[in-house]
């Protein structure tokens, strides 16, 4: 396979937007680079920018490897990505509103009813609930990969509790601290106003009649893998970081327990899955949520961000229909590509998938985080056979996609600088008609040679992402 290299063109020449960086890299002594890389490691440790890996020793924290070669996107390319993201997220929010109200899209025959109504992520509790600005996914983390020149694909729309934005911000801070001279020479679009933008969006979707809303961030607690990010965002926005046990509901109003007594809470940026939000409504064994909060939410006395039930729009079984949603709700042609997807619940698609397992990527419909997937070309015969059995046993649990030739970018690895595959997760913020984002996003890079899986839980790293003005 031929891979698109973000930095070098097909003839080995440096692409125009990487010229400045390349010159700097060649002129900088390797010892200085090595020293700076060690410095970055130490700083990330001291600041405690770590994440916990599920399945490893409880409470153990790991660093996400940080690479000092930035992923650079020229401004015009970003402009087109941005308009595609706006379009896509707008349509997804309209879809969610429709699903939980009149279900026009089902009536129009665009998506089979059972795909929505029988989806485990569909929440009947949300039927007829009106949300401020009709926005469901206030924060979306859309995963995008590049296959070739100007050829971008959306891999996933993360509309539940997308994470990673703190790494985007910390990576930038680190690059500026290590190599200020690079920023003097390049016009890198700033991203540090993200928390401000987020707070503005959260305040904008407060319940009706609340003029000065109290916003909080709800975390599952210090042992959650993204706890660093939760504290980071709460601190940057200057709002309280609460756990379920800090909140209680009385007369369908949510309060937090403070040193001066109970205080009303209006907007909750929750980093907790639907299932755990309310033991009275969802999983009864959840001690992380707040009993009665669903009732308060249905009554319109509190805003949850993201809304309950957004999972029905980012589920892999709904993903293939997103281009149709864009056409249906906006009357526009999609700007961003979808990856062609075989839905194994369809006999023809299943047959094709089984016949081409070695070439395809197979994903669990409800999986996330890079767990439970098969990358055909990178797998052993045993792994492929194992998945064949899984597929035959439960075809509707899987989708398959062609293995994309993900672009790569030079990256520091043990043997020196070598190309590694990467993706991009821009964070898209919505309130009412307004859809905004900071330029760029989080670039994740698969550090293992040849690997196409960039998730940090699977040994991925991150890079600073530069949108470069001309």
């Amino acid at each position: 396979m031929n891979f698109y290299n973000e930095m070098m063109d097909a003839h080995g020449g440096v692409r125009a937007h990487y010229q400045g960086y390349d010159t700097w890299l060649k002129a900088t002594p390797p010892e200085r680079i090595a020293r700076k890389r060690a410095e970055a490691d130490l700083a990330f440790h001291r600041v405690g920018i770590t994440f916990a890996v599920y399945g490893e020793e409880a409470g153990k924290e790991r660093l996400i490897p940080f690479d000092i070669i930035p992923r650079i996107i020229p401004a015009p390319e970003w402009e087109s990505l941005q308009s595609g993201l706006r379009q896509r997220v707008k349509a997804l929010n309209m879809f969610l509103h429709d699903v939980y109200h009149d279900q026009e899209i089902i009536k129009a025959g665009k998506i089979p009813a059972e795909q929505i109504l029988n989806n485990a992520q569909f929440r009947p509790e949300m039927m007829g609930v009106d949300l401020p600005g009709q926005v469901y996914a206030h924060i979306a983390g859309v995963d995008i990969v590049r296959a070739g020149e100007g050829e971008f694909y959306v891999l996933e729309d993360n509309l539940r509790v997308p994470s990673g934005v703190s790494y985007m911000l910390e990576d930038r801070k680190m690059m500026m601290r290590l190599f200020p001279e690079l920023f003097a020479k390049h016009k890198v679009a700033p991203v540090q106003h993200y928390p401000d933008m987020l707070l503005e969006k959260l305040r904008a979707v407060a319940p009706k009649g609340v003029s000065n809303p109290t916003v909080v961030v709800l975390t599952p607690g210090a042992y959650n893998s993204a706890y660093f990010e939760h504290t980071f965002l709460a601190q940057q926005m200057g709002v309280e970081l609460v756990e379920g046990r800090d909140l209680f509901v009385k007369d369908e109003v949510v309060y937090m327990q403070t040193t001066q007594g109970p205080r009303r809470v209006d907007v909750i940026y929750r980093r907790l899955d639907d299932d755990y939000m309310d033991p009275l409504a969802f999983r009864a064994d959840s001690s992380l949520g707040v009993p009665g909060i669903l009732k308060a939410y249905q009554a319109g006395n509190v805003t949850l961000s993201n809304a309950i039930g957004t999972g029905v729009a980012d589920d892999k079984s709904i993903y293939p229909y997103v281009p149709d949603m864009i056409r249906f709700y906006l009357g526009e042609e999609p700007t961003l590509n979808n990856v062609p997807t075989y839905m194994c619940r369809k006999p023809d698609d299943l047959k094709y998938t089984l016949d081409h397992l070695a070439e395809l990527v197979v994903k669990e419909v409800h999986g996330a985080g890079g767990y439970g997937m098969l990358v055909g070309p990178a797998s052993t015969k045993e792994q492929i056979e194992h998945f064949r059995q899984l597929l035959i046993a439960k075809p509707d649990g899987y989708i398959a996609q062609p293995t994309l030739a993900l672009s790569n970018c030079p990256t520091f690895v043990e043997e020196g600088i070598a190309p590694r595959h990467l993706d991009l997760r821009p964070f898209v913020l919505s309130s009412g008609k307004c859809v905004d984002m900071v330029p760029g996003g989080l670039t994740r890079v698969a550090l293992t040679k040849g690997s196409l899986v960039v998730n940090s839980s699977q040994g991925g790293g991150t890079k600073d992402t530069w949108v470069l003005e001309e």
Partner: protein
């Protein structure tokens, strides 16, 4: 501020202060043990530290004899001993981790790197390198954490709860050091040459040696040492100083439930404001200090009940 946040801040500062005071207590005991005296007397002062923390049982499970090295090993680095310096630094860091968003970056980095460094050190390394250096290190890390708090944190409720934790803990610890050392030193009735070194070491353990000279300009006597540590209103580790500050911070955070706790604190403060060392010594210093520590304990409970533990829907 969230009750839980206040609770973590309060305990974060208590644990770091406790680590510092434990380092001070162990340091003075270690130094005193270097002054020529009988082995019995030395081991008795080590045993007093275990008794002071009510750890006799836990200690006996691990060690058959009480001696300097064992007690130091137990109180400095034992991760199973929840009262060791190691555990205090870990708990300080854990509490900070739970509210790191409320702390300034400098405060968090100080506590986090303190723990990361402490974790790396085995007892044998510390002991062979000179345990005194380690105690200095603990004191410096505590100073650093106090310094970053004072130098970077907004002086709002968070700051008041941190100060409350620090001062309550310090009051308790100064009372403890005085209690245990006074009793080891005083019953001998021997006011000879060693006394000067021992009382000097006690004063140094609360950074009060030079202060004593400045205040009294005279030889060191046990009564004055007790007076200085209890009643001096300007000495940052004295009981009165701590209580002055407790009162002040408690006023700043008061709520509709905290009246009784404030009254208790006021009573205790009045004892220190208007008490005299002669009266205390007449009735017995040990009894007075025990009573003081009980009241500090009650005060901590009161603060916990009024501010830190969720009051439930009824409130």
């Amino acid at each position: 501020m969230l009750s839980r946040t206040a609770d973590h801040l309060f305990w974060m500062s208590r644990y770091i202060e406790r680590a510092e005071n434990l380092a001070r207590l162990l340091d003075v005991t270690y130094q005193m043990s270097l002054v020529p005296q009988s082995l019995d007397a030395i081991n008795q002062s080590w045993a007093a530290i275990i008794a002071l923390n009510s750890l006799e049982e836990a200690y006996a499970k691990k060690y058959s004899v009480v001696n300097g090295e064992n007690v130091l090993r137990f109180m400095v680095s034992d991760p199973d001993n929840f009262a060791s310096i190691h555990s205090c630094l870990r708990l300080a860091r854990e509490n900070a981790h739970a509210v790191r968003g409320t702390l300034t970056t400098e405060m968090w980095e100080t506590l986090n790197s303190t723990w990361l460094e402490a974790r790396e050190k085995t007892f044998d390394q510390l002991f062979n390198a000179g345990i005194g250096d380690y105690f200095e290190w603990v004191k410096m890390r505590s100073s650093l954490s106090r310094g970053t708090t004072l130098g970077t944190l907004l002086q709002d409720e968070a700051y008041h709860f941190i100060r409350l934790g620090t001062l309550l803990e310090r009051a308790d610890n100064t009372a403890r050091i005085l209690d245990v050392k006074y009793h080891v030193l005083r019953p001998q009735g021997d006011e000879g040459a060693t006394d000067f070194y021992e009382w000097g070491a006690l004063l140094r353990s609360v950074s009060a040696f030079e202060v004593y000279r400045k205040v009294y300009r005279d030889v060191i006597t046990p009564e004055r040492v007790a007076e200085l540590l209890i009643f001096n209103k300007d000495m940052p580790r004295s009981l009165q100083f701590c209580m002055n500050s407790v009162i002040k911070n408690l006023d700043l955070i008061s709520n509709s439930n905290s009246g009784e706790t404030q009254r208790q604190a006021g009573m205790l403060h009045a004892h220190l404001r208007y008490g005299r060392i002669e009266d205390i010594l007449e009735h017995g210093l040990h009894e007075w200090l025990s009573d003081f520590m009980d009241r500090i304990y009650m005060l901590g409970n009161g603060i916990s009940k009024d501010f830190l533990v969720p009051m439930g829907e009824a409130a």
